[in-house]
């Protein structure tokens, strides 16, 4: 059965089941790894012909929903560090405002696609690579010694001022690093149509030294507020949030996230991390090839009414 639905803001007609399926698939991964899933969904939306500006803005809206059900599950299991989440959130809101500004500026110059794709390749490449080798080492180490890897290392992060106690994470560190991480993730949320979990989760583990258990819930907590703010900014400045598109993606996504959260609790942290790393690297490779290989169509059309 084919059910076409016309999207009023994107102004194209798409199969409704395709959208539900995409939402569900990405939702499962989102629940499993605690990432918003945006870094997979946004490129997928490009592939099915959704205009990039609409994909980025609508994806922000959809991430709110898929993360909301995930965060509920984590609150119940007490795996959210609200204090850390709030610090990350303050940075995130500032970053999102800057990011939307940057997005709109680059859109008028015609380089927004390049920036988005390059950011994907660079960030996914670095993060994926780091996570892959780190978790490979962790797995090998735990096989040799039989014990878990030592988590808390003292690095430069622990020598900064404005220290604060984060009880749920068992940390006493400066608020500066989480604020900077928040700003950074906020910028990415706005320009790449992602929640930013793929940056935030590793940053929380490797830079802040947070326990893996609370990392997922805390990042989801920050993500829902930052992406909600991003959605409002895109809706009021670009008019690019497609409500029916978001609803279809989230119906699939919310159910998927619930399934994913359950799968995630059954897997070991190291296995989870290596799976995520492989996925991140795969998306990175695909995007890198797109930039390196000569495209079949060298020309592209855009609205000419801009300044």
């Amino acid at each position: 059965m084919v059910m076409q639905i016309y999207l009023p803001i994107a102004e194209i007609s798409v199969n409704a089941f395709l959208l539900l399926g995409l939402g569900g698939l990405v939702g499962i991964l989102s629940g499993m790894f605690g990432v918003g899933g945006g870094f997979l969904m946004t490129p997928l939306l490009f592939f099915i012909g959704i205009p990039p500006a609409v994909a980025v803005a609508t994806e922000a809206n959809q991430i709110v929903a898929s993360s909301f059900s995930g965060v509920l599950a984590h609150v119940k299991r007490r795996t959210v560090d609200f204090r850390m989440g709030t610090v990350l959130l303050i940075g995130g809101l500032v970053g999102a405002a800057l990011g939307v500004q940057l997005f709109n500026t680059l859109k008028s110059v015609g380089q927004v696609d390049l920036l988005v794709k390059l950011s994907y390749v660079i960030f996914l490449g670095i993060i994926g690579g780091l996570m892959f080798f780190e978790s490979l080492r962790a797995i090998r180490r735990s096989r040799v010694t039989g014990g878990a890897a030592k988590r808390r290392k003292h690095n430069w992060v622990h020598n900064l001022p404005f220290k604060m106690k984060f009880r749920t994470s068992g940390l006493y560190i400066s608020v500066i690093p989480p604020l900077i991480i928040g700003v950074f993730v906020g910028v990415l949320a706005a320009i790449m149509g992602v929640g930013g979990g793929f940056i935030m989760v590793p940053a929380m583990i490797y830079l802040l030294g947070m326990p893996t258990k609370v990392v997922v819930g805390t990042s989801l907590f920050q993500i829902i507020f930052v992406t909600a703010f991003t959605t409002l900014l895109h809706a009021t400045t670009n008019f690019t949030v497609d409500m029916p598109l978001a609803v279809l993606l989230l119906i699939g996504g919310v159910v998927g996230a619930q399934i994913g959260t359950r799968i995630g609790t059954r897997l070991k942290a190291e296995q989870l991390r290596i799976l995520l790393a492989i996925m991140v690297l795969a998306v990175c490779a695909k995007l890198a090839f797109d930039l390196l290989l000569q495209p079949s169509e060298l020309y592209s059309l855009g609205p000419g009414g801009g300044e």
Partner: protein, 257 residues
């Protein structure tokens, strides 16, 4: 349905006073509005008409019919990628002054055989002529490549259609054709033009409008998004959160039972 329309045309033919000068075209569309609904998946419009004349049908050259359907014209910024530092990036760009968002040309015979270049230039009938690109030549040396790209990309998306030989003409009097509007339509006033030609010269022209509009829920969402963006944004979030919370609650309920 078609028969009824044809009867209307005949009634018009009889009712209209004679003009006594050559041939004139009378035509109609199967619909004057295309409504974009939630499950809009393209639409087909039927264009039909007749040639009105006082004198007997002239022998030669033969009468030919050209039908064009065009969407709202808008400026288009065409960008070209080139290899820089090993990756493909947008470099040159050309602003095409006006290109129709949709354009279809249906004819009785290959366009080149039934329309002279001078007439094409005057009435802007063929696809390249329908695109206005005056400033492009000043912006870049190979500006033709950019207008070709507009045609190529839009033809791939069925937004530009060359339907040569798709107009049925019988007895040099009655004609009909159909144009498939794809699902990726832009809203606005679409113009249908009909040209009668003899020996490559336009004998008569006729034009009528076709309104393409979003309706119902589509209309409501679109208007809200542009007229009340903040409320629209908040509503989008509210729906997202309610659905997110609701679906997880339903899911948990089913797992327990």
């Amino acid at each position: 349905m078609i028969l009824r329309h044809l009867l209307v045309v005949f009634a018009l033919l009889i009712a209209l006073p004679a003009q006594g000068e050559g041939e004139a075209v009378v035509a109609g569309l199967s619909q004057n509005r295309v409504a974009i609904t939630a499950n809009f998946d393209g639409s087909e419009i039927l264009i039909f008409g007749a040639v009105k004349r006082e004198e007997p049908i002239p022998e030669a050259p033969p009468l030919e019919v050209i039908v064009t359907v065009s969407g709202p014209s808008e400026p288009v910024l065409v960008r070209r990628k080139a290899r820089r530092f090993g990756i493909w990036v947008n470099t040159d760009s050309v602003l095409v002054d006006a290109a129709p968002s949709f354009y279809a040309v249906a004819t009785t015979k290959p366009l080149a055989d039934i329309l002279r270049d001078v007439e094409d230039l005057r009435y802007q009938i063929s696809i390249p002529r329908a695109i206005r690109s005056v400033g492009a030549a000043m912006q870049i040396r190979d500006s033709a490549n950019f207008t070709d790209a507009v045609i190529r990309i839009r033809t791939d998306k069925s937004l530009y259609q060359m339907l040569e030989g798709q107009v049925n003409l019988s007895e040099s009097t009655l004609f009909n054709t159909s144009v498939a509007l794809p699902s990726n339509l832009i809203e606005g006033a679409y113009t249908t033009r009909i040209f009668l030609t003899r020996g490559g010269t336009v004998v008569d022209a006729f034009d009528t409008e076709l309104e393409v509009r979003k309706v119902g829920l589509e209309r409501w969402v679109y208007n809200l998004a542009y007229d009340r963006p903040l409320i629209y944004g908040l509503l989008s979030l509210f729906i997202a959160i309610v659905a997110g919370w609701g679906a997880s609650a339903v899911f948990r309920y089913f797992l327990r039972s």
